[in-house]
Symmetry: C2
Subunit: 129 residues, 2 copies
Amino acid sequence: MSALNDRSLEYVAKYFKALAEPMRLKVLNALRNGEKNVGQLTEISGCTQANVSKHLSLLSQYDLVKRESRGNCVFYSIADPSIYELCELVCGQIAKRMIAEDDIKKMFIEADKLQTQNLQLIEKKLKTG
Amino acid sequence: MSALNDRSLEYVAKYFKALAEPMRLKVLNALRNGEKNVGQLTEISGCTQANVSKHLSLLSQYDLVKRESRGNCVFYSIADPSIYELCELVCGQIAKRMIAEDDIKKMFIEADKLQTQNLQLIEKKLKTG
DNA sequence: GCAATATATAACTATATAGTTATATAGTCA
DNA sequence: TGACTATATAACTATATAGTTATATATTGC
């Protein structure tokens, strides 16, 4: 990253930007346990199918996800697991600050139990069909 | 990053967003060799002083840079060098793709010689006063 | 072919923010 | 004190994009 020119910086910035949206992180997070199709991701994300498709299209464009059309469905999966390294680095840095900032600490650790339960319910539902 | 709730995802996303602007990356890149004051960063960045200040303020807010007011000037430096790990991870991923995409490859490797020379000139000028 | 389902895209709105110019604030030195 | 320099902020414009609804495009099974 020494002496990158402006075009390169723009490129790197765009890459970060792809990861700079909560909904896209949610989608990537949902793909941790393996591939899912658009309908499943729509259900998990809680927004419209059109929106999920748009985000997937962008993630695809940056090779963050792999697209595989199978039968009537399109399955997406993580293209390069090293994006999780990125996320963990970021989480680590945020964690450092959490020590000082108690409200954020709570935000992370008490992790909205309702939401977790809902997610588990959806996952379960998706597995059992 | 397993089962992060929505608020946490938003927080992580915002962190990425802080790194998702070319001008901010340029500033961070300029701080690789050590602290610089706002005037110096303004000269390197090539945009207005007001804009640099705004970006520095945001970077400060996310603890990406350290602020130290000394005399008439304010010096900024990298708060946590692990952000460069982030950038290198991203550059690494982009590099993987470069193999296939020749134009991007050129973009990175032929790194605008003029710009590099200009940067060196500015750096030199800053050092000699 | 036709109905049904799954995904992608078009068109639009609302919002966030990068950049600007002008101005305020703060420190230095005479 | 007042002139000068350095940084931050306010107010504004232009642009990008997340989200929506409605529609188009595949694919499957009858």
